[in-house]
């Protein structure tokens, strides 16, 4: 079982200047599984997921303690190449954020900054990525249009394709459907289930049904602490903690 652990968080504490946001979090994320992180707003779930690709490095005055191991190596060790880490651990954000460039340029961006110049290769990879993100059919004739002209749901799948194009090992989804309509949401959820064959997926969501539908494992966070973590089927049917049960029943949150 241990070899299947892709990411392991050990006693992670995180502070925004004086505020203690994450308290002693330990969590295992298994390879080729979908791990959902749920909890009420402000519980630290986004903060946690952003630690996994070091996006929180950008926040001045933030401080982190503990270890996060990717394939057994601490990503916060001084020897870690952050650029390399972010290539391996991709991210899809809450609000679709394609660049104000064409669809093609959006997907090709990650390849070009990695120094790939072979045009045929780039064209091929763009097409593959769009197909994997289940958006190719809709945009194949619009590759040279500004990506911001697409609908929100399409933009989000463009962002997923952009992320896939650099061939990450892990994809982090930070409330990817928060700004989407139900139909687009369903498409993204189907896509996540499809993607888990090739990638390890971590998804933050405040939508409990969504967590139940897409995830294999669920972590319930409350006020910066992991209240309960385990297989989704178990958490949603026979939770161990009273608080988890209450949250899932909608008593608070």
């Amino acid at each position: 079982m241990d070899s299947d652990i892709k990411i392991r968080a050990e006693n992670v504490n995180f502070y925004y200047s004086e505020t203690h946001v994450l308290k002693d979090i330990s969590l295992d994320i298994y390879a080729n599984q979908v791990t959902a992180i749920i909890g009420p707003s402000g519980c630290g779930k986004s903060t946690f997921i952003r630690l996994l690709n070091r996006m929180n490095d950008l926040i001045p005055g933030a401080r982190m303690q503990g270890e996060i191991l990717l394939d057994g190596k601490d990503i916060y060790s001084p020897r870690t190449d952050v650029v390399e880490l972010r290539r391996r651990v991709g991210m899809v954000f809450q609000k679709p954020n394609p660049f104000p460039k064409t669809v093609f340029e959006n997907i090709a961006y990650g390849l070009i900054i990695n120094g790939i110049r072979d045009r045929a290769f780039i064209r091929d990879r763009v097409k593959q990525s769009l197909k994997k993100a289940a958006i190719y059919e809709e945009v194949q004739n619009r590759l040279n249009e500004n990506a911001l002209m697409l609908s929100g749901g399409q933009q989000q799948r463009i962002c997923i394709a952009r992320c896939i194009a650099v061939e990450p090992e892990v994809i982090l989804f930070d409330e990817p459907c928060a700004s989407l309509d139900p139909i687009s949401t369903r498409k993204i959820e189907e896509l996540i289930l499809e993607l888990k064959k090739d990638y390890t997926i971590v998804i933050v969501t405040h939508n409990m049904q969504q967590a139940a539908r897409v995830s294999d494992f669920t972590a319930f966070l409350y006020l910066g602490e992991v209240i309960e973590f385990g297989p989704t089927s178990k958490i949603f049917t026979v939770p161990e903690k009273k608080m988890t049960e209450q949250y899932l029943a909608g008593r608070f949150g």
Partner: protein
């Protein structure tokens, strides 16, 4: 209720007064410039190579004056674009909170220095330095004027360019970094292109300020109304010509009308600059999906 309507009326009038002033100035310029165009003709006025307004057979060609403005403005652009855009990029991307807290007010103060002080400084300090450094007969020339105007226009360029950078949503930056781009790649390939038209607007408005600036060029540019052959020649830009000659031109004379005609040309040039800047910045906001 009537009170409310009264206030509404007052503020409407105040707000529209600028339209009234604009129209008033335009009409005055046109009316006063018209005799000039009627007597000399637009082409001979704009294309004429000789500006001898006080000769017994006067010649009113403003080509040397226009070229003077062009040389000085281009020179100023060479100074204010790298300085202004460079400082905007630094403040936006690289500066820590302390550097930012120092630089932003300093640049704003730079914008508040009266132009006569720039002129004075240019005349007394810069011109002798330029003269000695290049070993030329006079330091009062297009080069020195360009330097002074460039420094003057820098705060305009910097603050508008910085606004343009601030408007770029930080989500673009995050997306780029999350794909494994470093800060430099993110800046060059995402942030600058996204802010590109905003930065162009900044440059155009900076140049429009340089074209219209009077006091500094009057004091520093050298005042020779001939077609410049090099950047080290003294020039007499359009603004300086009006300022220098309005006092001595006989009211209602052809010379008087010629100065108004120069004013009209200047007005048209800065008007075009501003319109272009407005169009570009509107397109910029649309492209970033920010609406008008």
């Amino acid at each position: 209720m009537t009170k409310e309507r009264f206030y509404k009326w007052i503020f409407t009038a105040l707000a529209f007064s600028s339209l009234f002033f604009l129209l008033g100035i335009m009409i005055t310029l046109l009316v006063q410039a018209l005799p000039m165009f009627r007597q000399v003709g637009i082409l001979r006025f704009i294309g004429g190579k000789y500006w001898y307004p006080t000769y017994s057979t006067p010649s009113f060609g403003i080509l040397p004056l226009m070229l003077g403005s062009v040389v000085v403005t281009t020179g100023a652009a060479c100074v204010c674009i790298p300085l202004g855009v460079g400082s905007a990029l630094y403040i936006h991307e690289l500066a820590g909170p302390i550097q930012r807290a120092i630089l932003k007010p300093v640049i704003e103060i730079l914008a508040g220095i009266p132009s006569i002080v720039y002129g004075f400084f240019g005349m007394v300090i810069m011109a002798p330095m330029v003269q000695r450094f290049f070993g030329i007969p006079t330091g009062l020339n297009a080069f020195t004027a360009s330097l002074m105007l460039g420094v003057m226009a820098t705060p305009t360029v910097c603050s508008i360019a910085e606004d343009a950078l601030n408007v770029v949503p930080s989500s673009f930056k995050e997306a780029s970094l999350a794909l494994g781009a470093n800060r430099w790649q993110t800046l060059v390939k995402v942030i600058i292109p996204a802010a590109g038209s905003g930065i162009s607007t900044a440059i155009i408005l900076g140049m429009s300020r340089a074209v219209g600036e009077t006091m500094t060029v009057l004091m520093v540019a050298g005042g020779a109304a001939c077609i410049p052959r090099s950047i080290f020649d003294p020039v007499r830009p359009m603004t300086a010509t009006i300022a220098a000659e309005m006092g001595e031109a006989v009211m209602g004379s052809l010379h008087f009308h010629a100065l108004f005609a120069i004013g009209l040309v200047l007005f048209v040039i800065t008007f075009i600059f501003n319109i272009v800047a407005e169009i570009i910045s509107r397109r910029f906001r649309l492209r970033l999906g920010l609406g008008r």
